[in-house]
Amino acid sequence: MTALVDVFVQNPAVILTVGALITVAAPRHLASLILLIATALSAIKLYTLGVGEYGRIAVFGETLTTLRIDPLSRIFAVVFHIAAALNIIYAWGQRDRAQNFATLAYPAAALGGVLAGDLITLFIWWEIAAITSVFLVWAPGTRVTYLAGMRYLSIQVLSGVLLLGGVVLLYRETGSLAFDFIGLRDADGAVKFSALIMLLAFGIKAAFPLLHNWVQDAYPKSTITGAIILSIFTTKLAVYSLARGFPGQSELIYVGAVMTIFPIFFALIENDLRKVLTYSINNQVGFMVCAIGLGTINGAAGYAFGNIIFEGLLFMALGAAMFRTGTSKATELGGLYRTMPITMGLCIIGAMSISAFPGTLGFVTKGLIIDAAGYSHLFWIWLVLLFASAGVLEHAGIKIPYFTFFAHDSGKRPQEAPPQMLIAMGLAGALCIGIGVYPDPLYALLPDQDAIADYHPYSAYHVVEQLQLLLWAVLAFAVLILIRWYPPEVPSTNLDTDWFYRVPGRAFGGWVVGASGATFNALWAIFTARMHAIMARIYAVHGPEGQMAKSWPIGFMALWTAILLGFVLAVAFFA
């Protein structure tokens, strides 16, 4: 029993979960403080434990490693703590108990998954992440968010069920529950069904192409703080899982390349800037998936670290504008730079960082991926990644700050963002610039130290190449604005893959429910009619007025009963 308690107590994810649970009962004004203390305690625990495997427990004859800290899980764990702390500061003073709980319980689940050393522990945290995060989707409390939350939960649980199915199949094949390299193919080169199922489970959470639209459906409907938290953890847990289970699988190169491209076009025509950022998540995760396929785990982990900071900063800046104006639509924003100059400046830092301008966090991490495509001599993939980089600049680097703070003047003159938001954004901005200028501490955290030893982000040609790419892309934007060819923002809903299950799927589901009900009613009517007919016939024959009742008078029955009793007495007497 004591050993089991130790297993839980030493797990940083459990510390975060306990912190989240305390806020449910604690006074509301102390919630943010409790969340921050829990995050600090968890970070201290992570640091003091150091690299190693802990929390081993035996279940049904199998040993589970509930806590594994190695260089790959450590970098994700570190950035999850940073992100959780920034989110808590950003939402400081939030009184909603459900949101306060989810603000830490959901990151805790993602952290637990990252630190899981076996597939059963991963599955448990995977499902907890799904359940705790849906509270953030439901937080606004409207019918629209309720429906979106149900769709989100269905997809997340489907991912969990597939994961469990894959774990069972994998265990049958290998006899092991360890969460290590899985690989898509067996020794003969044939695709393993178990691996395919697990890849699909990871792919749903990573928002692979055609499986991506739950992100756009759910995240922008959450609250201001909820959307920021949601944007970070689920997809990065999936990236970690892919990096752990499927590194160097060439199929992922092409999946990732497609992911970097198609969201760019949807982001271009999207009016809701929070939705633009969710397409940006798809695009950014595409770079990470491509990196995993290329076998550069440093690229995937490093870029995930960076993306969590600078994409989070963009969500925060947009959230601050939304907090002050009540909208995140490009057609209703614009001109906010006049009264929100600090938020604008921090937003531009995030935008430059995600665009990978030299001197920013994006530059020192994205280069790892594009270089890997070069070293692999995959010309078209390399070209696609450069194309996608120009796309990132368009929708995240320019569109977000331009339409929020500049563009047409909306006439809105809101106050600057509240202090807690400015502090969180300021810290994120400082990390973007600080690590961008001095990346060594980040590089020291990367999983493959041999590979990073020879990497120098600030080589002259790398800086020149990147400046050419970005500055000429910005020049293209300036030209398009000057000649008025840049498309105006239009209030609209853009159909995506969710249309299939929200319109024809919903209609089909409604038809199935209606048809099932009608079939049941018809069968029930036939059954009850038959039963009534049978009962009526029995009554007609055996009822008081029936033929049988007439031919069996009471006196006749009494006589036969007396004869039978006499017979029994005689038998009993002589026997």
Binding site: G326, H377, G391, G411, Y461, V464, L475, S492, T493, R502
Partner: protein, 94 residues
């Protein structure tokens, strides 16, 4: 939460809306872009062992960045005709 105000006709244009700022911004951008392209011709700024022939072309990244951005915007905007619907499209159906 929302404390916006309507436009004040007497309000001075913000610094980013002045013609001077726009000209300076555009001038700096053009100069920086041209300098980055010229830097591609400097041997010290070129990759010693390029992975692809394209990397050896001094202004390849400038041209690719410009062309990619143009293509994304000019081609991508037509996607709206295919998938664009009115704003309450889903609300009407759910």
């Amino acid at each position: 939460m929302s404390d916006d105000h309507h436009k004040n006709p007497d309000e001075k244009p913000g610094w980013a809306d002045t013609k001077g700022f726009r000209n300076v911004f555009l001038g700096v951008l053009i100069v920086a872009a041209v300098l980055s392209a010229l830097a591609g011709f400097v041997p010290a700024f070129q990759k010693e062992k390029p992975h692809f022939a394209a990397e050896g072309f001094p202004v390849f990244f400038a041209l690719w960045g410009f062309a990619a951005f143009m293509f994304i915007v000019l081609a991508g905007q037509h996607l709206r005709k295919l998938v664009g619907r009115k704003e309450d499209y889903y609300e009407e159906r759910e």
